[in-house]
Amino acid sequence: MNQIDDSAAPSLSDEALVAGMAERSDAATVAFVRRYQRRVYGLARVIVNDPGTAEEIAQEALVKAWRHASTFDSRRATVERWVLTITRNVAIDTLRRRRATPRDPTEFLDLAAASSDTPFEERVEHGDTRATIQAALLKLPEEQRRAVVLATLHGRTAAEIADVEGIPLGTSKTRIRNGLMKLRADPLLERIPR
């Protein structure tokens, strides 16, 4: 069952690690968890306010990735997108189920901007995925940016966003729509690996 060598696992590609997890290789599983725990926990931290809840979300997401490793399809998504999308969905479920406190959406960008010493523009120029996403979000007017982060990362409905932001439902829907349509058309996002 453990055909992957302990010492070789850390140098394997993401896809090879997921394939190894699907065969229940312990070495591949350990290497995968080590490689992705900071990404997964980092995303959970921008969605929920409480570090303990973020930890539970990150743990559940990694266990789900392990459990469903055999169904990962590299033709459809990179491993990073796959595991982070699982994480987001676990976080949204948790927020809804427990009525946990979401983090303020503007903190997402502040945290992200503070996460590197290299100037922002330079990172975008060098194809840094994180900086590129942040740059695309920063191009949106602030109210659209907040609405988009609340709707996509926090899983809030238009009605809930209207409530949180103290705006009419129609305004909330318009902000989400305009923000997402701009992102969808932004050539910056086309540079991101799928």
């Binding site: 069952m1 065969e23 229940r24 599983t29 968890v33 080590r34 725990q37 900071r38 990404r39 926990y41 980092g42 995303l43 931290r45 921008v46 930890e55 990150a58 743990q59 266990v63 789900k64 392990w66 459990r67 469903h68 055999s70 169904t71 990962f72 399809d73 459809r76 998504a77 997108r81 796959w82 982070l84 999308t85 699982i86 994480t87 987001r88 969905n89 479920d93 997402f108 945290l111 992200a112 996460s115 994180r130 996403i133 979000l137 988009v148 982060v149 709707a151 996509t152 990362l153 899983g155 238009a158 829907k173 989400i176 729509r177 997402l180 349509m181 992102l183 969808r184 996002l189 991101i192």
Partner: protein, 223 residues
């Protein structure tokens, strides 16, 4: 219902579909439209792509001390428990009846030699345009039973279940009631599960209402 593709409301509906916030009636109507509209299908794919990409913008954060060991301990503890649970689920579902679909070329790639999973149950998601709308459970080994469970709301009331084998043969398993929410449907596979390439649910007018393996990321989390 007809849809005006220049109506800004359609853009909102597409977005709410992607975000999973459409109400049941609107979802059913849009699902019916989406089944036959290439323009909306393309747009949905692009929107899903943009929404998923936002998760990549989050900065890394160092998890608390002991996190890695806790994750690995849970995984280790989950391995035997899960097998028992899945098997129980399959047999209890086999007693019930009804719905859906799905597929997967991945069944063919399932590790036959793995001692953990030989002669046990595999589950595969059923997808309709980036939403998981059900699950197929099948048993590896000599048994050819599978159970399809779905929860799609649509005005399509019957679907055919088509199995595509690894030799590209298609077998119609017959039609069953569909579209009113949660349903389950046991069926005998024409070949062993490891030779199944895909399972599809197709409306009686030929529209594919579900397949597995269309979009493997994300919705796993809701399983």
């Amino acid at each position: 219902m007809t849809w005006d593709h220049h109506d800004p409301d359609l853009a909102v509906i597409r977005i709410e579909y992607v975000l999973g916030t459409l109400d049941g009636r609107q979802r059913a109507q849009f699902v019916d439209h989406l089944a036959t509209c290439t323009e909306c299908a393309t747009e949905i794919t692009a929107l899903v792509d943009s929404v998923d990409a936002l998760t990549l913008g989050a900065p890394d954060a160092e998890p608390p001390v002991g996190f890695e060991s806790r994750v690995l301990a849970e995984i280790s503890a989950a391995t035997p428990r899960r097998r028992v649970r899945s098997r129980t689920l399959l047999f209890s579902l086999a007693a019930a009846v009804i719905v859906v679909v799905a597929s997967t070329s991945l069944l063919a790639a399932w590790p036959r030699s793995s001692r953990t999973y030989s002669a046990t149950v595999v589950e595969r998601p059923l997808w309709f345009h980036h939403h998981q709308i059900g699950t197929v459970y099948a048993q590896l080994g000599s048994s050819r039973w599978m159970v399809i469970v779905s929860s799609q709301h649509t005005t399509v009331r019957r679907v055919d279940c088509i199995v595509v084998t690894d030799t590209r043969r298609t077998v119609d398993l017959g039609s069953f009631a569909y579209g009113t929410g949660s349903s389950s449907w046991p069926a005998q596979l024409p070949v062993a599960a490891r030779h199944v390439r895909q399972i599809r649910l197709v409306s009686l007018t030929g529209v594919v209402m579900a397949t597995s393996g269309v979009s493997p990321w994300g919705t796993w989390a809701s399983s």
